[in-house]
């Protein structure tokens, strides 16, 4: 049932009460009318009873009068000697006081019932008795009603000697009125319904009388008083009811409605209860005020609790979106903000900057996680300092940060990026026990409102950042269209190919490039270069290794490469006795499983020269483990080459302590020989002389011309590799 307003309910209640009172008043009114009618009936009965009693009384009185006459000696005298009867009848009887003046007539009758003497005309009496006396008759005669009593007159007290009869006549109405006091019967207009001249026994007279009931003044007064009182009572109750309604409205309904409105206001955003009633009511209900006060207190406490919850929620929200280590926003916040920009809509002008700490994994592995964490904290602080206060810094991964610069053009983005790099470079990381400088790479993607999507912008930034991380690359790289070849880094297809190649090494297609022994330029071994044949396409190392590095798949991928090499060797795809080198990533050289796999391969092909090419990065990070594993491999018969020498943080200390057999100069170093810069050539000459002096054999990469070959030969390189000799080819 639909809830009703208290105004309606209170009004309905008051109307119901008023209706009930009116009904009760009506019922009392009708009941009073019924009682009055019943009283009238009872009064009519009482009146009839009174008249009956009056009839009995007049009969008794008449009998008493007649009896006195009958026993009167003078009556017997007149019945014996009637000579003076009329004198006796007309005078003596009345003078002697035997009958009252109300007696209309007296007559004596002889034994036969005949009147002793004719009656006076003005006082007529029956000439003879109508029946056997005693008799009491009601007569209607001459327009008037009379009643007569007839009694026998005896000579002796025993009534044995009948002398005659005496008759006494009365005015019926007068006697009846005199008979008694009538409370109910009104005999003022008494009417006898007998026919003229007829008579009836007095006992049946009541049936021939018409009379009215005397108005009961007490009943009428009570009736009037009751009606007036009832009307006044109903009016008073209705007035009190209206007063109660007013009080109810003032005391309960209005405060309750106000209270309800106040509670309703709570539904509105920002709505709250007033701490006090709107205005102090002169008549306030204590309980209601208590409820209001309690509710207010409750609401205050609830508001406080809500505020606390909101604060906690904000804290939790913030904490959930903050990186605990750096205080920067985390990946979740980045994703949300990213979505807030509108993931699927076309962007306006915005710049996305991705930051990545160079060689962080090596730093982490070399100096421990605590140092790594401090490095990350320091970089984050530097980036915060470099960014504007309104710019948010996000930590996306271990060493990867990002910021979004709305409405930023290339110039401003570059300025911000350079400021970030400068802040990081200006930091002294030696305080953490590090001896190498720490740098960051920044990839920048811009949206100039040309209609690219957020997803595309993020992909562009990824490509730019990976480009920046490439050896020899500028640390601040804007995305450009020619980076499309690196799209594999972020393309679903290439990622899928890498993961599937790890699972299925058969997808790996090794191409081999010759490494020539100088100065005769005889092929001593070949370098296995990794490709992935996926869905009919050949994916090159430019797409593979950034993914491997970005996904930290170095160890897994190297194991897959070793299985592919084992496959090729087992299948005899390489000429017998031809050595083969394989690249191992820095994480792999410190990994026992990879080392074990390579050792197994060496043992599987004892007559074949196996060279493990490792980058200097591996030596930088965990040099003890790396050195131990290298020694183990060398003891197994494997040669170890330090790959890409000169492209990273080459250190003479490392160079001096490297347990390697070969130092493979990076192509950027080898090309210095063709630069024409004498100082660079001298530097190259000194480095090569130093390496040779240290006892290492040197391999020159990127030898593409005869002149360059001659130069490397002249510098003492023992091996050379490059397009001058051959391109990487799949085995036949």
């Amino acid at each position: 049932m639909k809830p009703q307003s208290i105004v309606h309910l209170a009004g309905l209640f008051l109307l119901a009460v008023a209706g009930f009172i009116l009904l009760l008043g009506g019922y009392l009114w009708l009941e009073m009318e019924r009682v009055s009618a019943e009283m009238r009936v009872r009064e009519a009965r009482s009146a009839r009873t009174e008249v009956v009693e009056g009839l009995a009384e007049i009969e008794r009185r008449a009998k008493s009068t007649a009896q006195a006459l009958a026993l009167w000696d003078e009556t017997r005298q007149q019945l014996s000697f009637t000579e003076y009867y009329t004198l006796w009848r007309d005078d003596r009887v009345r003078d002697a006081g035997m009958v009252s003046d109300n007696v209309e007539g007296v007559a004596l009758y002889d034994k036969q019932g005949h009147i002793v003497a004719p009656a006076r005309p003005d006082r007529p009496m029956l000439a003879s008795l109508p029946g056997q006396a005693p008799l009491a008759l009601l007569q209607q005669k001459n327009g008037g009603s009379h009643f007569s009593i007839f009694l026998p007159v005896h000579a002796d007290p025993d009534g044995r000697i009948l002398l005659g009869y005496v008759g006494v006549k009365f005015n019926f109405a007068a006697e009846l009125r005199r008979a008694r006091a009538y409370q109910f019967a009104d005999l003022a207009h008494l009417r006898v319904t007998l026919a003229e001249g007829s008579s009836v026994n007095l006992a049946q007279a009541i049936d021939h009388l018409l009379f009215s009931t005397r108005p009961n003044p007490d009943l009428a007064a009570f009736h009037d008083l009751f009606r007036a009182s009832l009307v006044r009572l109903v009016i008073a109750i209705l007035f009190l009811l209206f007063l109660a309604a007013w009080l109810l409205g003032r005391l309960l309904v209005r405060p309750l409605r106000a209270f309800s409105d106040e509670i309703d206001n709570l539904r509105e955003p920002g709505g709250s209860l007033p701490r006090k009633p709107a205005r102090a009511a002169p008549l306030a209900v204590l309980e209601l005020e208590n409820v209001r006060r309690s509710f207010n207190d409750y609401q205050v406490r609830l508001s406080e609790l809500h505020s606390n919850l909101e604060q906690n929620s904000r804290d939790f929200y913030d904490q959930a979106r903050r990186d605990a280590l750096t205080g920067a926003f985390n990946r979740r916040a980045f994703d949300e903000d990213w979505k807030a920009l509108g993931e699927d809509r076309r962007l306006g002008r915005v710049a996305l900057l991705l930051f990545d700490c160079d060689h962080f994994k090596a730093i982490n592995d070399t100096y421990g996680h605590q140092v790594g964490d401090r490095v990350i904290q320091t970089i984050a602080g530097d980036l915060h300092a470099a960014l504007r206060a309104a710019d948010r810094l996000y930590r996306l991964g271990g060493d990867e940060f990002a910021t979004i610069l709305p409405e930023a053009d290339a110039r401003r983005a570059e300025m911000v990026a350079e400021r970030c790099i400068e802040h990081v470079l200006g930091q002294d990381f030696r305080q953490y026990g590090m001896s190498e400088p720490t740098t960051i790479s920044i990839g920048i993607a811009l949206s100039e409102g040309e209609g690219i999507t957020l997803h595309e912008l993020q992909k562009h930034a990824d490509l730019a950042m990976y480009t920046a991380k490439r050896p020899g690359s500028r640390k601040l790289v804007f995305y450009s269209e020619n980076m499309g070849g690196m799209a594999a880094l972020v393309g679903n297809k290439e990622i899928s190919a890498v993961f599937q190649a790890i699972e299925n090494p058969d997808l790996i297609e090794l191409h081999y490039q010759s490494v020539m022994r100088l100065p005769l330029a005889t092929r001593e071994y070949v370098e296995a270069l990794t490709r992935i044949r996926f869905e009919g396409e050949l994916i090159g190392p430019g797409a593979i290794f950034p993914i491997v590095q970005a996904r930290n798949l170095d160890m897994e991928f190297d194991l897959a490469v070793l299985r592919a090499l084992d496959r090729d060797l087992a299948q005899g795809r390489l000429p017998a006795g031809l050595g083969v080198s394989v690249n191992l990533s820095a994480p792999s050289i410190v990994n026992t499983k990879v080392v074990d796999a390579l050792a197994d391969l060496i043992h599987a092909y004892p007559g074949r020269k196996i060279v493990a090419e490792i980058t200097e990065t591996a030596l930088i990070t965990q040099i003890e483990i790396a050195s131990s594993n290298i020694r183990r491999l060398r003891e197994a018969g494997c040669l170890v080459a330090l790959d890409d020498f000169g492209s990273g943080y080459s250190s003479l200390r490392y160079l001096a302590s490297m347990p390697v057999d070969l130092v493979k100069f990076d192509i950027s170093m080898v090309r210095l020989l063709d630069s024409g810069d004498r100082r660079q050539q001298l530097m190259m000459e000194e480095i090569t002389r130093l390496v040779v002096t240290a006892g290492y054999q040197m391999v020159a990469e990127g030898v593409e011309t005869r002149e360059l070959l001659d130069k490397v030969i002249s510098l003492g390189f023992s091996h050379a590799q490059g397009f001058y000799f051959d391109r990487p080819l799949a085995p036949a």
């Binding site: 000696d73 005298q77 014996s80 007290p157």
Partner: protein, 278 residues
């Protein structure tokens, strides 16, 4: 003596049987009386009530009780006065048709009725005007059985008129009787201020003037005694003295006309004493 009489009345009275009796007169009227039968060898006593009274009048009634208590036969009739079975005192204003002669006949009838039941001497006692009525009867032809007369408080029929006026009234009544008009007259008579009677009736009583009473008493042929109250205020001045002139009169000191109170016994003593003499 009084106490003795009282005790005798209480003891012997229980043995005397009161008997109401009726007597149908020649006029067909029935007269009533109280009859106490006593010793046959003692004279019977007839007690006659006063004017318009009955035998139940207290003076008579006490005498009936007293005399009957001595063993004497007592008869106390009520004169009919024209009313059959009369048992009430007749009012002065009643229509009186009775005459003194009729009264005498009723006394005679009762004497004869008594003689049938008691053949001894009869003493007649009258009270007040009853003494006059007995005196009137005795002045006529009384029954020989009557041997003595006692008149108690005999009263003259006073009219409160002087002799001339009385004579005039009597004359008027005689004329009325002769002419037959008026049929009924109303006049003061005795203690009645308005005595309503036929002229015949009234005349019969008026003719017994005080003088005639004195004369009749003086000529009584039998012994008589008049017992009078010493303080009887209903009597005319000098009446007792006049009575004493020719009669034996016994005065009861202090007694009134009705001899009531303690004088009731004085009366009885006097009566019984007189009865002893017979």
């Amino acid at each position: 003596m009084r106490l003795f009489l009282f005790l005798i009345m209480c003891c012997i009275g229980l043995t005397a049987r009161a008997e109401p009796v009726e007597l149908t007169l020649p006029s067909k009227l029935v007269a009533k009386a109280e009859y106490r039968k006593g010793d046959l060898d003692k004279p019977a006593v007839i007690l006659l009530h006063g004017f318009l009274q009955t035998h139940e009048f207290p003076t008579i009634h006490s005498l009936v009780e007293g005399i009957s208590s001595t063993g004497r036969t007592v008869l106390a009739p009520t004169l009919t006065l024209g009313v059959t079975h009369r048992q009430q005192s007749l009012a002065c204003e009643a229509i009186h048709t009775h005459t003194l002669k009729e009264v005498g006949r009723e006394i005679d009838a009762w004497v004869k009725w008594l003689k049938v039941r008691h053949n001894g001497p009869i003493i007649v006692l009258g009270h007040s005007f009853g003494s006059v009525e007995v005196l009137a009867y005795l002045s006529g032809s009384p029954d020989p059985a009557i041997t003595r007369f006692i008149g108690v408080s005999i009263i003259e029929a006073r009219l409160k008129l002087n002799a001339a006026e009385t004579a005039k009234l009597i004359g008027e009544m005689r004329h009325a009787v002769k002419s037959g008009e008026p049929r009924v007259v109303t006049h003061q008579f005795s203690f009645c201020r308005k005595y309503q009677a036929t002229p015949v009736s009234l005349l019969s009583y008026l003719e017994w003037t005080p003088r005639r009473v004195l004369e009749a008493s003086a000529r009584l042929p039998l012994p008589s005694l008049f017992i009078m109250g010493g303080h009887d205020d209903r009597l005319g001045s000098g009446w007792v003295d006049k009575l004493k002139t020719h009669n034996r009169v016994k005065i009861i000191p202090g007694a009134n006309h009705f001899m009531d109170g303690e004088h009731e016994f004085d009366l009885l003593d006097a009566v019984l004493e007189e009865l002893k003499a017979s």
